[in-house]
Subunit: 308 residues, 2 copies
């Protein structure tokens, strides 16, 4: 294993988060810059964040061991190709190859939630867990025996588009009542904006606790939806730990406690659910832990180690 | 690998199905006898079916290579111990050890749906699939890269107790609106018995096609529930093939066509679902193919091969 530093890039729809780690996993530099959308924009953003991190650390491109990238969308991790990333406005991009040529180091690319699951597993020293990202999109990634569960064409983890309520609101994917409509950031923002008086996501659970009926309805809807997601991944895959992450989870103060409370309440009428201890399986990482960027660095490392 | 015959036993709540296979997987003998419930009853039944198969083939216990058993319930496959099998009235039984001592050959035990998934994979020459059993109970088993996905404590596959409808009917597990209530044999039998005129499961889809409103409601409820199960396992685990099996699937003429039709109809409004071709992933094995008993024989073989 190389002693040289490795870079992780979490390329999101609005910003690109870069982190430079030494061989022991310590943070040498970290930078966040806006993401330019479209194929060329994403490449420019990735290079800008890379160079900004290298400048901070006082080293050059040639000093890197590897670069790993997490991208929200469908990725062919074997070739480093982004097949579809709606939020980045990319339909096809050989991102790994393009950046590898520009930087002169191996560049690996994977889905951002799968990358985050790698970082969560490393932090928790766990080889089995499911990471559920509740942000603008909703998706999961599972590690079993230390390996990412990918499924055919990397499809595993698209839990956001399980339709829980056939009469529910229309999802961007065309179905109705998808988990993502219920608990994803876009659906929540739309519903909160329609409330009078308006409530922000950070204060939603406080407003609910203070007795606002609208806030209570919405708080319960989000928490129950996430509780169902936890139940769904545990019953389907047998996940021993479920790590909740993403913007919604970290923005909504009180959300995770309410998810745990709902899971416990559901178990009250079910010996079977009680035996599963679902509430105890739920884990949240500190909100300032850059799970996706660190995960991206691990994506790069895994590939570089396999090659060298 | 031994050239001697191997026996598979599918021990169900009402009957025990034994099958004797030669080393090439050809059926040498097959017998079905009623299952006596309770720990001692199950052991007596297993021995009776074993001896009946051996008699048919004209060989003795000492000629066996291995015995594998599939049991509906929670099994510790590493020790061959049944932890809970409600339908067999067993709360704890060292089934593998007890039968191994009685027969003088290695006996392996696994969950019956996991065993069936092994047989389906062997028959389809597939290393990645999900088998969904829709019988009295509802559960799934997934093979990824040729290995069973077990999850913590073999919990993976308990999809029957995902609560799809919080306002639905009460499930035996204590929750409301579980998938098992919607599509499991017991829930269906209860609802069909309440119809006037009564409709049997085999003729339900014919009655629906003939215009009976009650039959149409029930036929749609079952088909839509199974379609959701297919969608759920594919989106969560990325299953490339979904094999439907179990008593309900084989009893209800027309059910699988309707499941495929619903999957296709749901995709009509969703480019994302269209891209998944869910209807094409659905596979049904011939109803006379003894998937669980053959799977049990494979459970035994895998263990015997690992030992020898």
């Amino acid at each position: 294993m190389s002693e040289r530093p490795r870079l992780g890039l979490d390329i999101g729809g609005t910003k690109t988060h870069g982190i430079l780690l030494d061989a022991a996993g310590r943070v040498l530099a970290e930078r966040v810059l806006p993401t330019e959308r479209g194929a060329e924009g994403v490449i420019r953003s990735a290079l800008a964040v890379t160079d900004a991190c290298l400048d901070l650390a006082g080293i050059g491109r040639g000093d890197l061991d590897s670069v790993g990238i997490g991208v929200p969308g469908q990725v062919d991790h074997l070739t480093g190709t982004v097949r579809t990333a709606v939020n980045l406005n990319i339909s096809h991009l050989a991102l790994g190859e393009r950046l590898g040529l520009a930087l002169g180091v191996p560049v690996a690319v994977d889905n951002d939630v799968k990358a985050a699951a790698l970082a969560a597993a490393a932090r928790l020293a766990a080889s089995d867990l499911t990471y559920i990202n509740v942000g603008t999109g909703v998706a999961s990634a599972t590690l079993a025996d230390g390996r990412l569960v990918r499924g055919q064409g990397n499809l595993a983890g698209e839990i956001g588009h399980i339709a829980l309520d056939p009469d529910g609101e229309r999802c961007a994917c065309g179905q109705r009542g998808c988990l993502e409509v219920l608990v994803g950031g876009a659906g929540i923002a739309e519903r909160l904006a329609a409330l009078a008086p308006r409530v922000s996501l950070p204060s939603l659970f406080d407003a609910a606790a203070a007795g606002s009926p609208d806030a209570m309805t919405e708080a319960t809807r989000i928490s129950a939806g996430i509780a169902t997601a936890v139940q769904l991944v545990v019953l389907t895959q047998g996940s021993s730990r479920v790590v909740l992450g993403g913007g919604v989870v970290h923005a909504a103060r009180g959300l995770v406690d309410e998810v745990r409370r709902i899971l416990t309440a559901r178990a009250a009428s079910s010996e079977f659910l009680t035996s599963l201890n679902l509430a105890d399986r739920v884990i949240v990482l500190p909100s300032d832990y850059p799970v996706a960027a660190i995960g991206a660095a691990l994506v790069g490392r895994a590939t570089a180690d396999a090659v060298t």
